[in-house]
């Protein structure tokens, strides 16, 4: 087995792992109770699946065609850079558009800061 | 594959037509968006066959290439439908602002006597 074949194999393996990670995350997307927890799963999908797959692809092209794909590298960097921002923005948007936390949540440090006035006025915890 | 895509096209058309026939402006616009999706896919299937040949890039030195002409046509069509959709959208919201409704039943228009 040449180095190339091993490289290709590793690439394919990484891709397969990416696929598995992806499915697991989407499982989380279905299973988790609220958007906040689901966002964890989604961000994982982004990072892991893409990291794995693109790395696999990169390796594959590298070994198969001796081709350094700057685009794939850039793609990886890009996902790394943007996926968390996207997650952050979405969660923030969710909270600010008053999407409720799941019942099992135990703590909400934001509420007192963000909805100070409402809390004062109502005296009741009303997140919706 | 061609058959599958053609059936998908038919489904998209069905949904688009149903949306077009609704009372809500946004639904109608969505309908037009779906219609163009369908048209582009249909145009794609009308080439020399899907997936028969490689991407039409001569640099890659393949034995055969897929039909490039429909691709060029679709590209043009995509841009045009984008232009139209943009205009239609703005038109829709201007209309809403002016008339206060997005219900096409209320937007009967010129009705004299």
């Amino acid at each position: 087995m040449s180095v190339n074949v091993i490289g290709e194999f590793i690439g394919a393996l990484l891709i397969l792992m990416g696929g598995i990670a992806s499915v697991i995350s989407v499982f989380g997307l279905i299973r988790l109770p609220d958007v906040y927890t689901r966002s964890h799963a989604a961000t994982k999908s982004s990072t892991l699946a893409v990291l794995l797959t693109l790395s696999g692809t990169f390796l594959y092209f590298l070994f198969r065609e001796q081709f350094v794909s700057v685009r794939v590298l850039l793609g990886i960097v890009f996902v790394f850079l943007t996926a968390p921002v996207a997650g952050h923005l979405l969660v923030r948007a969710a909270y600010r558009s008053k999407v409720e936390l799941a019942d099992i949540s135990t703590e909400d440090a934001l509420k007192e800061v963000l909805y100070k006035d409402e809390l004062k006025n109502d005296g009741v915890s009303d997140k919706s | 594959m061609e058959t599958l895509i053609t059936v998908l096209v038919g489904l998209l058309v069905t949904i688009a037509v149903y949306l077009l026939l609704s009372r809500n402006l946004i639904r109608v616009i969505l309908g037009t968006a779906l219609l163009s999706h369908a048209a582009h896919l249909l145009l794609m299937t009308m080439g020399n066959g899907l997936k028969k040949g490689s991407a039409p890039l001569l640099g890659e030195n393949a034995a055969s290439y897929v039909d490039a002409l429909p691709q060029a046509l679709i590209l043009t069509a995509i841009v045009i439908s984008f232009a139209v959709t943009a205009f239609l959208l703005v038109l829709a919201y201007r209309t809403y602002k002016k008339t206060g409704t997005d219900d096409l039943y209320a937007l009967r228009g010129l009705d004299d006597e």
Binding site: - | T3, L4, I5, T6, V7, G10, L11, L12, V13, T14, I15, Y18, L19, L21, R23, I26, R27, L30, A38, L41, M44, T45, M46, G47, N48, L50, K52, A55, P56, L57, L58, G59, Y65, V66, A68, L69, P70, Q71, I74, L75, T76, I78, V79, I80, F82, A83, V84, A86, F87, L89, L91, R94, Y96, K97, D102, L104, L107, R108, L110, D111
Partner: protein, 803 residues
């Protein structure tokens, strides 16, 4: 000859100059300028009498629409000469009359322009040889008539009358045009002379009879024949000179002219005879019956005109039989009818013109034309009375007036007609004879009404508007001239017969040229024959009926008289408008949805229908490329996403789903090896989504569709059918690729255009023009959006177009 052609144009030229002169001489004297035209033309045409009487004809052609065979050909023969003289002669008198009749306050410039327009048009009609040119002028007469009827356009009745006449005559004209075109299609020529010469070969063509009917439709509408006569009474809203000129002496005779002109073409056809004389006789009856019940003198004259036109028409019909049989010595029996028709045509113009002018004088002097308010005028208006008497008695068919002569000939013709072979039974002929006789009785009655109820009896000053005076001399000149003619013709009928009627007969019977007896000698006295007995009967019965009119006039209130065509016409117009409104509202509801439904239904019917009809649904899946599982899954997901769009509750969800679809399509493009497409699709989809979101700020959240279940189901059915058809057609096409695509050529892109990306070379080079325009489209959209947003009409409330 060019001069004849010019004679048509002179009135038009004059019409252009009149307004200019009128600006300077703003008075009734303008009429003196105008009158030069008809007088000069009359003299000019009269100068042809001798040569025409000797059998000459004159023709002149100006090439016009070469390719269509439409030329400006004027043709002067006996028939056109009679009409030409009538037009210019009566025209001169009418203008003379109008100079005194019309007040200076009226817009005289306009009046004379219309009148000259009409005169030119009418001359055009009678002098044109080319059918299309004839049609040009034909419609022009309708138009000038329209303008003249509505001369006082602020009156509602004037407008109504104008509209009615225009609708009826123009419609007839259009029918006639179709007939003309058919004639041309058969014979290959628009020239009447050519058609007359060759028509014999085409009489068997199916179109021949259709053309005949259509041409007659034109003639009947113009000449106010039943049932198209209804416009003529309403045309009386025009100033009286106009009524005298257009609606009795000339324009209404255009239809007669047409029948005469076309007799050589259609005359041999039995149908021509049946229709022309049938309609003529019936019109004669209807007209006279209706005339009697009128109380407005002008209306009475209008019905009388209708009736008289019917008379002339029926005579032309009878005369055509001669052509049916071909020439024989017996033909005289029939040609005599034509002769009588032509003779009566002239006579009618004289006595009816005079009568109209009389009525105009009465109206002008007293401010009313209602016979119930008139009476005893004889003492105050002796000249007028004399003219009225002459005119009426002539119309009644009494000697020593020209009407007697032609009426006698009419009866004779009818008596002869009983023996016609084409009338299958003698009873039929008898029936016509009886009808005509009855009509003549009523003609007698209404003629008496004019004279006696206006000029005899007691005068009631309180019933009229103005103090009574005899009309000014100037106004009396024109009717007097006509009255003198009425008497003069009686005594010297053969001057007319030889100089005018003979050449006209030759024109109508070109094949009988020079035949014996075509022009009979007109005699006032020809012994006690059937015709004279009939006249005597008319006088006796007419006198009785007139004396006892108040006892029988009640019959007019019976249903058949009450139900008149006018009401029918008005009702049908309003029915037409309301019906149109109803029908149009039925489908023009203003809802986008309805319009889209129409389109899709049409699509389903035509495309779907033709797929079924032609059986274009043969599929061939053998060429399909294989489907990978993941591809199948993606397509399935797309289907799911698309379907969900129908049910989602929030517009943003729908947009997200649309985005999913868009991105998935990009993936499909990747799978189908279209990198450029995938790139474009992705970006465009994103920008579109952003646009949706941008606009959502302004738009409300969408509500649940509140449509009825039935609507939803029908929408669903339409949608499914549309989708199915698109699919079926798509599959059919894939199974029936007939040719290799031209796109193989583009695979040589690098050598041809120096690019390795084929799609890009197509876009940038082979089909760069598309791309250029596509950029323009995008640009227009961009600037358009800017304009749409920034340009807002500031004063919407005051905006008048927006109601």
């Amino acid at each position: 000859m060019l001069t004849i052609t010019l004679s048509i144009f002179i009135p038009f030229l004059a019409a252009i100059f009149i307004p200019l002169i009128y600006k300077r001489i703003h008075s009734r004297h303008i009429g003196w300028f105008v009158i030069i035209v008809p007088i000069a033309l009359f003299i000019f045409l009269a100068s042809y009498i001798p040569s025409i009487a000797n059998g000459s004809t004159y023709m002149h052609t100006i090439r016009w629409i070469e390719t269509a065979g439409i030329h400006f050909t004027t043709y002067l023969d006996g028939l056109s000469l009679i009409f030409g003289l009538l037009i210019t002669g009566v025209g001169s008198l009418v203008i003379l009359y109008s100079i005194y009749y019309l007040s200076e306050r009226e817009s005289l410039g306009r009046f004379y322009v219309y009148l000259l327009l009409f005169m030119g048009a009418m001359l055009g009609v009678v002098l044109s040889d080319n059918l299309m040119v004839l049609y040009v002028f034909w419609e022009l007469t309708s138009i000038s008539s329209f303008l003249l009827i509505a001369f006082w356009y602020h009156r509602k009745k004037s407008r109504y009358g104008a509209q009615k006449s225009m609708l009826i005559t123009v419609s007839g004209g259009i029918a006639m045009l179709a007939g003309f075109i058919m004639l041309q299609s058969m014979t290959g020529s628009f020239s009447v002379r050519d058609i007359v010469a060759t028509i014999g070969q085409y009489t068997d063509e199916p179109l021949f009879l259709v053309a005949l009917l259509l041409v007659l439709l034109g003639a009947f509408t113009k000449s106010a024949q039943f049932p198209f006569h209804i416009w003529l009474p309403d045309a009386m809203e025009a100033p009286t000179p106009v009524s005298a000129y257009l609606h009795s002496a000339t324009m209404v005779k255009a239809g007669i002219y047409l029948v005469a002109r076309f007799t050589p073409i259609f005359g041999g056809e039995a149908m021509w005879l049946y229709i022309v004389s049938g309609v003529g006789v019936f019109t004669l009856l209807i007209g006279s019956l209706n005339a009697v019940k009128q109380t407005d003198l002008k209306a009475l004259l209008a019905y009388s005109t209708i009736s008289q036109l019917g008379l002339v028409m029926s005579l032309f019909g009878l005369g055509s039989v001669a052509l049916h049989h071909g020439y024989s010595p017996d033909s005289v029996i029939y040609t005599q009818a034509t002769f009588a028709a032509l003779f009566h045509l002239i006579n009618h113009s004289t006595f009816k013109g005079a009568l109209f002018m009389v009525v105009g004088i009465v109206d002008h002097e007293l401010g009313t034309r209602d016979i119930r308010r008139l009476g005893g005028l004889m003492a105050f208006m002796p000249v007028t009375f004399t003219i009225a008497l002459i005119g009426s008695f002539s119309m009644a068919g009494l000697p020593p007036f020209n009407g007697f002569l032609s009426k006698e000939m009419f009866f004779e013709a009818l008596v002869n007609a009983r023996n016609l072979e084409v009338f299958s039974t003698g009873t039929m002929g008898t029936l016509v004879l009886v009808v005509a006789w009855i009509a003549s009785v009523f003609t007698f009655v209404y003629s008496m009404i004019i004279v006696f109820q206006t000029f005899f009896g007691e005068f009631h000053p309180e019933r009229v508007e103005k103090p009574i005076n005899e009309a000014s001399k100037g106004m009396l000149v024109a009717p007097s001239v006509l009255a003198i003619l009425v008497v003069g013709i009686f005594f010297f009928p053969n001057v007319i017969g030889n100089y005018l009627l003979r050449p006209a007969m030759a024109a109508i019977y070109p094949t009988f040229a020079g035949a014996e007896g075509l022009t009979p000698h007109i005699k006032a006295w020809h012994g006690f024959n059937t015709a004279l007995w009939m006249t005597i009967g008319v006088v006796v019965l007419g006198t009785i009926l007139y004396r006892f009119m108040r006892y029988w006039k009640g019959v007019y209130s019976f249903a058949p008289f009450k139900w008149n065509l006018d009401t029918a016409f008005n009702a049908s117009l309003s029915w037409l408008e309301n019906g149109s409104r109803y029908l149009t509202r039925l489908y023009m509801k203003g809802y986008l949805k309805d319009y889209l439904v129409y389109i899709f239904v049409f699509f389903v019917l035509t495309v779907g229908g033709s797929i079924l009809y032609t059986g274009s649904y043969s599929f061939d899946f053998s060429d399909d490329s294989p489907i990978a599982i993941n591809e199948f899954l993606i397509v399935l997901s797309m289907a799911g996403a698309a379907l969900s769009m129908l049910f989602v509750k929030s517009r943003m969800t729908a947009i997200i789903l649309n985005g999913v679809l868009g991105y998935s399509i990009a993936l499909l493009f990747v799978i189908f090896r279209a990198p450029d497409l995938a790139l474009t699709q992705t970006v465009v989809e994103t920008v579109t989504t952003a646009l949706f979101l941008l606009c959502f700020y302004f738009l409300p959240e969408w509500k649940k569709e509140r449509s009825a279940r039935k609507t939803k189901i029908s929408n669903g059915i339409i949608a499914i059918l549309a989708g199915t058809i698109v699919t079926v057609l798509g599959l059919a096409v894939q199974g029936n690729k007939l040719f290799e695509s031209i796109s193989v050529y583009f695979e040589d892109a690098y050598r041809l255009a120096g690019g390795k990306n084929i799609v890009n070379t197509i876009l940038g080079d082979f089909r760069a023009f598309d791309t250029m325009l596509e950029v323009v489209v995008l640009f227009i959209a961009g600037i358009g959006v800017f304009t749409l947003i920034k340009l807002k009409s500031k004063k919407e409330e005051q905006d008048i177009e927006d109601q």
